[in-house]
């Protein structure tokens, strides 16, 4: 009984999974030669385990999993950059250890570092006219880094905010957010992906654009008109300049945008569409048998923008080109190409060889392989039907969502409903689609606990994946960890994909809710150890510049920190003053970060070595306020204080 024989129709997968989980049935199945997800050695270990259920597997496990652990003094082999979902942040883990190194505040507030508290971070997040933050919430889904020649260049990382439709950029040398751009006239900005090279200029073999899809269609402009006529709702596909972070252009489309992928040659960007029906309610959204994967001809769009074939919506000055089907009937001039894909697809991923995009079926148990040169052929007018660009559509299991790739031509797709990862061969899928009955498409399956969402391979989004690990970000953990109340952590399961058989090698608990991650080789990341004093125009470079300056009721307090003291042991302001505190950390020693908290004024932030930050607040409460260093810095850390005296 080979793997292909396990057919997955709508009814079979659940019992099939149960069989695997049921240890009583295991021995019998092993006899039948069924080896899905189970190595021979596991079967042998499992049989005697019936008598001594706990001891044997435990003893077996220590040695088996040891190599996926990182002992003291050793370092992880990979970084894993992960979105934080509706926590609004981005996280950095080490792989394979799964240790959390850092949480980068992006759209959220973070009182540890003072994100959303300091003037500098507020300016990045965006403020209302009164200086308060425009938004306090965010929902990060997709993290992707900038490329040079199809490989990460370690410069930028981009992440979306689905709630408010914003794109943020994280500079990789400091791993801190440096720009946030709000996209006009979109809601539900979900998928995003930077391009990998310029479609026209050969010399630009690196990222210059970031594409953003909008999932929720809205009236354009969304100013109170047409609210009850969903047929007038639209989605826009947006292109942002990766350097300036200005919005370059937008495309008006039919249907919505879900995930986004870009081609290695820079010519195509694509988004999968699950609501070509433009339904406002979910039953309407599922009515069609086929939705689409929508391709954008980047060069043609930019020509159209240049030619002024654009319009604008509302107060936005961003040029919008028309990418609807009606306006793009002639393939030779079309800006967009709608490739039909079965039933509410989810996820579109580029294969590392640059040839294919894989779009998962979600409600269809298939994955569609789209050949990119055929899409380009369609744009040239040489392919009759966009559907002809689909060169493979294997049945892989229930609820396929996201696909990662290894270095051997295999794809790994998360099956949400089956709660499995399926390993399948792309070329075999194409052969099978052509009618080759002997093509062995599905190679392996492994159960994951439970219900995987995103999954991705180590270096899988570059032209050189290494085929070592697959990380399955599962949506439910249920019984996998010590209970911590009704809100469970999620399970990020590490799977060794280097062999023929996939092998789950670690359960990492992660705080809700990572959607997507990338696993990047450690040597591609180059970070700064300390800041450069000159990067901050308001830096106080000499302790002698410390002091209090007053202009009317605007007071500026300049201070430096050098362990274990602030340069001003006290400073005095008057009630009603608008106080700005500028603090430069003059310590040069790596990792010597200071904090600055003001009781009752709701202020805390940190200054890293050679960094400058400032806060502005109204001194509305007279009295003595002990400002103190919150970030442990020195043996005399507790003594590191300054008195803010607010006179009546």
């Amino acid at each position: 009984m080979s793997i292909e024989d396990i057919k997955h129709d709508d009814a079979s997968p659940v019992p099939a999974r149960r069989r695997f989980l049921n240890s009583a049935a295991l021995a019998g199945l092993a006899g039948a030669g069924l080896s899905v997800g189970l190595s021979a050695c596991k079967q042998e270990a499992a049989a005697p385990a019936a008598g001594a259920p706990a001891a044997a597997p435990a003893a077996h496990g220590a040695g088996e999993y040891g190599k996926y652990e990182v002992p003291p003094g050793q370092l992880d082999e990979y970084y894993s950059f992960s979105s934080g979902g509706h926590s609004g942040e981005v996280r950095i883990y080490g792989m394979p250890s799964g240790r959390l190194f850092k949480r980068i505040p992006v759209f959220n507030m973070d009182c540890l570092v003072g994100w959303g508290i300091t003037n500098e971070s507020k300016a990045i997040i965006g403020t209302k006219p009164d200086g308060s933050l425009k938004y306090h919430t965010g929902d990060t889904h997709h993290v992707h880094q900038s490329y040079v020649d199809g490989m990460y260049d370690g410069k930028y990382m981009f992440v979306n905010d689905k709630i408010h439709g914003r794109l943020a950029r994280i500079r990789m040398d400091t791993m801190e957010t440096d720009k946030i751009t709000e996209l006009p006239n979109v809601q539900g900005f979900h998928g995003t992906f930077p391009d990998k090279r310029d479609p026209v200029d050969e010399k630009i073999n690196h990222t210059t654009r970031v594409f953003c899809g909008s999932e929720f269609s809205i009236p354009l402009p969304n100013d109170g008109n047409d609210m009850n006529d969903p047929t007038k709702y639209h989605s826009l596909f947006t292109c942002v300049d990766s350097e300036s972070m200005e919005v370059r252009w937008q495309v008006l489309i039919d249907g919505n945008c879900d995930l986004v992928a870009t081609s290695f040659d820079g010519k195509l960007a694509a988004t999968n569409q699950y609501n070509t029906e433009m339904g406002a309610h979910y039953q309407d959204m599922m009515s069609s048998e086929r939705d689409a994967c929508l391709f954008f001809n980047v060069a043609r769009i930019e020509e159209a923008v240049k030619a002024g074939k654009t319009k604008t919506y509302g107060s936005s000055k961003v040029p919008v080109v028309d990418g609807t089907k009606a306006a793009n009937q002639d393939p030779k001039t079309a800006l967009t190409c709608y490739v039909p894909i079965p039933k509410n697809p989810h996820g579109v991923n580029a294969s590392p060889d640059g040839k294919y995009f894989v779009c998962s079926g979600k409600l269809s148990p298939t994955a569609s392989v789209i050949q990119l040169d055929l899409v380009l052929k369609w744009f040239d007018g040489d392919l009759k039907d966009p559907r002809d660009a689909v060169v493979g559509e294997p049945e892989i299991g229930l609820g396929p969502l996201h696909t990662g790739f290894d270095n051997k031509g295999n794809a790994y797709t998360t099956l949400f409903l089956d709660s499995q990862i399926v390993k399948w061969n792309v070329e075999a899928a194409i052969q099978s689609f052509k009618g080759d009955k002997n093509a062995k498409v599905v190679l392996d399956r492994v159960d994951v606990q439970y219900q995987p969402g995103h999954g991705f391979t180590s270096m899988g989004e570059t032209k050189a994946p290494d085929g070592k690990y697959f990380l399955s970000d599962n949506k439910f953990s249920k019984d996998r960890f010590l209970p911590v109340g009704p809100l469970h952590p999620e399970t990020a399961q590490l799977i060794d994909i280097s062999g023929d058989k996939m092998k789950v090698v670690a359960d990492h608990a992660v705080y809700s809710e990572p959607h997507d991650s990338i696993i990047v080789k450690r040597e591609l990341i180059k970070t700064r150890q300390v800041y450069n004093l000159d990067d901050f125009p308001n830096a106080i470079k000499d302790p002698k510049e410390s002091g209090v300056e007053r202009k009317g009721n605007k007071v500026t307090v300049k201070m430096v920190s050098q362990a274990p003291a602030f340069s001003l042991p006290e400073f005095t302001v008057k009630k009603g003053d608008e106080v700005t505190i500028i603090l430069t950390n003059l310590d040069k020693v790596e990792d010597l970060t200071h904090g600055f908290a003001i009781p009752k004024y709701d202020i805390n932030f940190i200054v890293n070595p050679q960094e400058t930050k400032s806060v502005t607040f109204k001194a509305d409460k007279p009295g003595v306020y002990w400002c103190y260093c919150t970030n442990f810095c020195h043996a005399l850390h507790l003594e590191m204080r300054s008195r803010m005296i607010v006179e009546k």
Partner: protein
């Protein structure tokens, strides 16, 4: 145990008595506060103001190697006056005692020495004999001199830009090492603060990488080097190394890619600016960390350093890059790793450099830490450098300089030693030419040897061997053998090689009787005494008493050896039982009266008793007498010697016992008995034979090698025939 402890208490007390009247030594083996070497506030524990006149405040220790800044409060402004450094922070150069002279050095902002103060020394010669003030006087010669100048012991040579310093007579090793300490310390700090500019070496050019070598190949061609420190080298116990590091240079494309892989190499190189260099270190084994934790707070890695000639390159936290793994196949697994970036100007991979591990040695007795560093040289192989390795002229080590400077003297000394040896080797011929009344064929050589030994070797070159050297060897053999230390006094070194060789060939008598400056002086006085008619006052101790007293010198030797294991310093003091230092090194008139009296007394007694010191007290003689048991060539004896007492009577060393055996351990090889051996008028058996033959009218055949007339045999013809047919 108790006995040992009691002895330990008693010995210093005894020494105290012995030295009651000795000049007070201020800093000899004084106990220094342990904080002196460890506290950031060095000047709280050291008299910094004494070496930096006018300074009112001092910074904490900074830099690597450390120093402090000295300030003068000028109203509100603090003015930088200069720098104060503690020599042991910078170098562990040992002096004569094998321990460093702890010196506090002040240097102004222009690099001129402004103060030198000895905080502690362990030099016995300065405790007894040479006053400590002479070292202070020596040190004062540095004041006002620029650290960048070429300062050496000896005469100034303006044409070579060499500034000479006057040495201390009799303490050459001490001052040579002191000069090294002063210049090394001053230079190390002057380089750090920018007084001395780093040497700019031409940068290396590398051929592109072709094949990527394995770890074994890297080891083979020297592209990775190993620096190992044993636990005992840092005063610890344990199996396996204390520190076992492999290291190498990463900018070289072949080596760099072998270690880091292609991507890792490219990534690292993209971090480096021009003129910056990366090295890697991994630690496959070891008891301690090579990173320590100092860098976490202070930002400086205080355990490793790179040195190129006199330039040292330290690393701070920002110079550190993670070394993920070593990609070369066959590389050892490791528990600690680093890539350090050398950013200082002047480093060039074309020239040799050293990785230095800056360790601490824990003294077993006192648990105090002393500075000890360990290094290993690294030089890229020819094939990894475009044009191969450049020619490098390495400065001579200090000991070699001394040898070169004194080449003539050393050569003369060697010629002298060989000449006397040649004479002694042909003793058989010489003694045959001599007879009872006419001994000059032997004595001409011996007396010449004595005179040169006393004048040149003793008084001029001050190369009188001493028991302290024997003790030092014992300690070196047991603990740490430092060739440099022994080589720094060439004549003594040559002399000892010669002594060791001759002791095993001929016995100790050759050195003691023919070459020892003091022994020569002693016996020469005895001979002169006889010459001026004091013979009637000259006497020997009765043989039974002599046979008891001769053991005293062995007791002295073993006593000193035993004491040396408790305290080398005390043993050195007690070694004053040798009057050598007083006689030759310092001068009998230059010492305090107890020493002068002791030496003068022994020499005075020598006029009346032949070599009283050599016979009864000399621990050096005792130490050489023991191996003499295993000498190869002894003196000749005849069967009749067992009953005949003729030689014994004339033996000045009283080395011939009642049975006629020569005690080679006591024998001074004066050869008097050998003169008799062939003298047919003096040797009783020979004289008897001579008389018999003369009476019998037989011919006096020549005397053979066994000391007899060649026998006259009547050879029967029959026997001859038998012999022919046999």
């Amino acid at each position: 145990m108790f006995a040992l402890r009691a002895l330990r208490r008693l010995l210093p007390a005894l020494a105290g008595l012995v030295l009651a009247s000795a000049a007070h030594a201020n800093t000899y083996e004084v106990k220094l506060p342990p904080e002196l070497s460890t506290s950031p506030k060095m000047c709280d524990y050291a008299p910094c103001t004494e070496v930096m006149p006018g300074a009112t405040s001092f910074s904490e220790r900074k830099g690597q190697p450390p120093f402090v800044e000295a300030y003068k409060d000028d109203g509100s402004q603090k003015k930088l006056l200069g720098y104060v450094m503690l020599s042991t922070d910078i170098t562990d150069t040992p002096a004569y005692s094998g321990k460093p002279v702890v010196t506090l050095i002040g240097m102004d902002t222009t690099g001129k020495f402004v103060g030198v103060k000895i905080l502690k020394h362990s030099e016995p010669i300065l405790l007894l004999g040479i006053p400590e003030s002479s070292l202070i006087k020596f040190n004062n010669q540095y004041l006002g001199k620029f650290v960048g100048d070429n300062i050496e012991i000896g005469k100034s040579r303006p044409d070579e830009n060499l500034i000479g310093l006057d040495a201390i007579t009799g303490a050459t090793v001490t001052v040579i090492s002191q000069n090294q300490v002063m210049m090394t310390s001053g230079t190390a700090v002057a380089k750090q603060v920018g007084i001395l500019k780093p040497v700019i070496r031409p940068q290396a050019k590398f051929p592109p990488a072709t094949t990527i070598p394995s770890w074994a190949e890297l080891v083979e061609d020297g592209s990775v080097q190993r620096l190992t420190v044993k636990p005992e080298e840092v005063g610890l116990k344990g199996d396996g190394p204390y520190m076992d590091l492999w290291f190498g240079y990463l900018n070289q494309p072949t080596v760099g890619q072998a270690i880091l892989g292609k991507d890792g190499y490219a990534s690292l190189m993209s971090r480096l600016k021009e003129g910056e260099h990366a090295i890697f270190i991994i630690k496959p084994a070891g008891m301690d960390s090579f990173k320590g934790s100092g860098f976490v707070r202070g930002g400086i890695y205080d355990r490793v350093q790179v040195r190129q000639d006199k330039d040292s390159f330290t690393f701070r936290d920002l110079d550190y890059v993670n070394l993920w793994s070593v990609s070369a196949t066959g590389a050892p697994a490791f528990s600690e790793s680093a890539i350090f970036i050398i950013r200082g100007k002047g480093f060039s991979a074309a020239y040799p450099w050293k990785l230095v591990f800056l360790g601490n040695k824990i003294d077993k007795e006192t648990a105090t830490k002393t500075f000890a560093n360990f290094d290993k040289e690294y030089w890229l192989a020819d094939k990894y450098l475009e044009g191969g390795r450049p020619v490098v002229v390495k400065p001579d080590p200090t000991w070699l300089k001394v040898w070169k400077e004194r080449a003539f003297e050393i050569a003369g000394f060697i010629v002298f030693l060989l000449a006397i040896s040649a004479a002694y080797a042909s003793r058989d011929k010489l003694v045959r030419r001599a007879n009872r009344q006419r001994r000059w064929p032997v004595n001409a050589f011996k007396y010449t040897g004595w005179v040169i030994s006393i004048g040149f070797v003793g008084f001029s070159a001050m190369a009188q061997p001493s028991i302290t050297q024997v003790l030092t060897w014992f300690h070196s053999l047991l603990f740490q053998w430092k060739w440099e230390l022994f080589l720094s006094d060439p004549l003594i070194f040559v002399f000892w090689v010669f002594i060791i060789v001759t002791v095993f060939i001929w016995g100790r008598g050759f050195f003691c009787g023919w070459l020892c400056p003091f022994g020569s002086l002693s016996e020469l006085l005895f001979r002169l005494g006889r010459l001026v008619g004091l013979k009637r006052f000259q006497f020997q101790l009765p043989k039974p008493l002599h046979d008891k007293l001769k053991w005293v010198k062995y007791v002295v030797f073993f006593g000193l050896l035993a004491v040396s294991f408790f305290s080398m310093g005390l043993a050195e003091k007690l070694a004053e039982v040798e009057p050598f230092k007083t006689t030759f090194l310092v001068g009998i008139t230059n010492r305090s009266w107890p020493y002068s009296l002791f030496a003068a007394g022994l020499l005075g007694l020598s006029i009346f008793i032949e070599r009283p010191f050599c016979k009864y007290l000399c621990p050096l003689g005792a130490s050489l007498a023991m191996p003499t048991t295993f000498r190869w060539f002894g003196l000749k004896r005849k069967d009749e010697c067992t009953s005949c007492k003729a030689c014994a009577k004339g033996c000045g060393s009283q080395a011939i016992d009642a049975k006629g055996n020569i005690d080679q351990r006591e024998c001074m090889l004066c050869l008097d008995c050998m003169v008799l051996y062939y003298d047919d008028h003096a040797c009783p058996p020979l004289a008897q034979e001579r008389k018999r033959r003369t009476k019998a009218g037989q011919p006096l055949t020549p005397i053979n090698g066994k000391g007899y007339f060649i026998p006259i045999h009547q050879v029967p013809a029959e026997a001859q025939k038998k012999g022919a047919t046999a």
